[in-house]
């Protein structure tokens, strides 16, 4: 593994911030080494400065993409934390379905849900499974489920919907595994009926949200923790703009919006918290 030199930390951290919005302070330098060493080695770079120079001069942006993939990928599970999914099933979805059904006279009620940092798709597929189980006649509604992530690789993997048994065993009950996945050797693939309910695309949360429209429910969990306070403020301000006035926001269970956004109020439901717009 290539060691990062003290004088390399600042410029490399700045570069990673520019391409991904992820802010690595000097006590997270191990992340450079564990996540970027193999890319550097693969490209024949002896140091992080060399990798930095090479990535900046790469017109195809392939190296940049690889670095974003490596630095942004975090562990994610099906039904990670039961709380938010119980919340979705017992509170948020029923309320949104009622509210949208009351408004949509004659038309199919349209409900838009966004997984803002969808990684390899587990969160959005978990949401789709809950909807499938909660709503007996799906054709009476128009559900739009969108997952976005900064990593091309994560988006591609999410779209493909194939997971290895370690990724899947933790969190997903066996009954649901067998109902919604098809075994493929050491892997499990999401069934088409669930796959067809979702869409994934690339989005950097630091850039403007163009063409996304307004969502009824937004999940933005465990991603803002990698941003600076200033960027977190900007992010949740944009999220407030993207959320319907009576919509719901769910953040990570150890995250807080105190001092981050004055536009949301927290509400408690059982063991979870969700946010409404003020």
């Amino acid at each position: 593994m290539i060691k990062i030199k003290p004088n390399e930390i600042k410029p490399v951290a700045q570069y990673i911030y520019e391409i991904s919005g992820i802010f690595l302070d000097s006590n997270k330098t191990y992340l450079f080494e564990t996540r970027l060493s193999s890319i550097a080695e693969e490209l024949g770079c002896a140091s992080f400065s060399e990798l930095h120079t090479k990535a900046k001069s790469d017109r195809s942006k392939n190296i940049e993409r690889k670095i974003v993939d490596a630095i942004s990928t975090n562990e994610t599970l099906f039904f990670r934390d039961k709380g938010p999914f119980e919340l979705l099933q017992h509170k948020l979805l029923p309320e949104i379905i009622d509210a949208r059904s009351a408004k949509a006279t004659g038309l199919r009620p349209n409900i838009k849900i966004w997984s803002a940092a969808s990684s390899t798709g587990q969160e959005l597929y978990s949401i789709a499974i809950i909807i499938k189980e909660l709503v007996p006649d799906l054709s009476r509604y128009s559900f739009q489920l969108l997952g976005t992530d900064i990593s091309d690789n994560a988006v591609a993997q999410a779209s493909y919907g194939k997971y290895n048994k370690f990724e899947i065993e933790r969190g997903l009950p066996r009954a649901q595994l067998q109902k919604y996945f098809t075994p493929a050797g050491e892997f499990w693939k999401i069934k088409d009926e669930i796959r067809a309910m979702v869409n994934f695309r690339k989005l950097n949360l630091m850039s403007p949200f163009v063409g996304l429209g307004k969502f009824d429910i937004i999940f933005c969990r465990n991603v803002a923790i990698y941003f600076t306070l200033e960027d977190r403020k900007k992010l949740f301000n944009k999220i407030a703009d993207s959320l319907a006035d009576d919509g719901f926001l769910v953040i990570g269970s150890t995250e807080s919006l105190t001092g981050v956004s004055p536009r949301f109020v927290p509400k408690r439901h059982l063991r979870s918290i969700f946010y409404l717009k003020k």
């Binding site: 709380g83 269970s253 150890t254 807080s256 919006l257 105190t258 109020v265 927290p266 408690r268 918290i273």
Partner: protein
């Protein structure tokens, strides 16, 4: 000392006996079954870490079926198939169905023990990962409870402060009454 439990399934009594002896000598805890039916029964009765099964066995339950039964009972059971050179293709098929490894006959015991040690290492890594995950979940749960309580409390305080501000700005009321009302709101905290 090996605490792992191994089930040996083979219809050939010589191989069965040989495997049993060698594995016991290496301090594994070993049970044997002479066919798939017996294996199924044993798998239902007690826990095994590893199943070492012949691929081709007479009767309705062959190695592949033993593999499927074991995985159905417990996904964490690792199955190693023993196969004749001519049926390597079926062994590869079995690996696609979740077998961890296969060995060709005649059994090379050095190779067998090497493979077993590898499985033990992987299992212990997985156990470590599971322990770490559990510890992480416990920490995360405790942290989230604290953070959520603080979040709700901060929101309540903010709401009170907004009320106090409104009262103090209310020009329809004289200064003294405004202060009195603001104090009432603060006293209600």
């Amino acid at each position: 000392m090996n605490s792992l439990t191994i089930l040996v399934v083979d219809d050939d009594p010589v191989i069965r006996r040989l495997l049993e002896q060698r594995l016991k000598k290496a301090h594994y805890s070993v049970d044997v079954a002479e066919d798939g039916y017996k294996a199924e029964k044993l798998l239902q009765q007690k826990h095994f870490d590893i199943v070492l099964t012949d691929l081709m066995m007479p009767g309705g339950i062959g190695g592949i079926e033993v593999l499927e039964i074991a995985k159905e009972i417990d996904q964490n059971i690792e199955v190693v198939l023993i196969t004749a050179h001519s049926s390597v293709d079926s062994a590869v098929e079995a690996m696609k169905k979740g077998a961890v490894d296969y060995l060709e006959k005649p059994i090379n015991f050095d190779e067998l023990f090497l493979r077993l040690e590898k499985i033990i290492n992987i299992k212990s890594l997985m156990r470590n990962a599971r322990d770490i995950h559990e510890a992480m979940d416990a920490t995360e749960n405790a942290a989230s409870e604290t953070i959520q309580n603080l979040e709700i409390m901060a929101a309540k305080l903010q709401q009170r402060l907004d009320m106090v501000e409104n009262e103090l700005r209310d020009e329809a009321v004289d200064a003294e009454s405004r202060i009195a009302r603001a104090l009432d709101i603060l006293a209600g905290l």
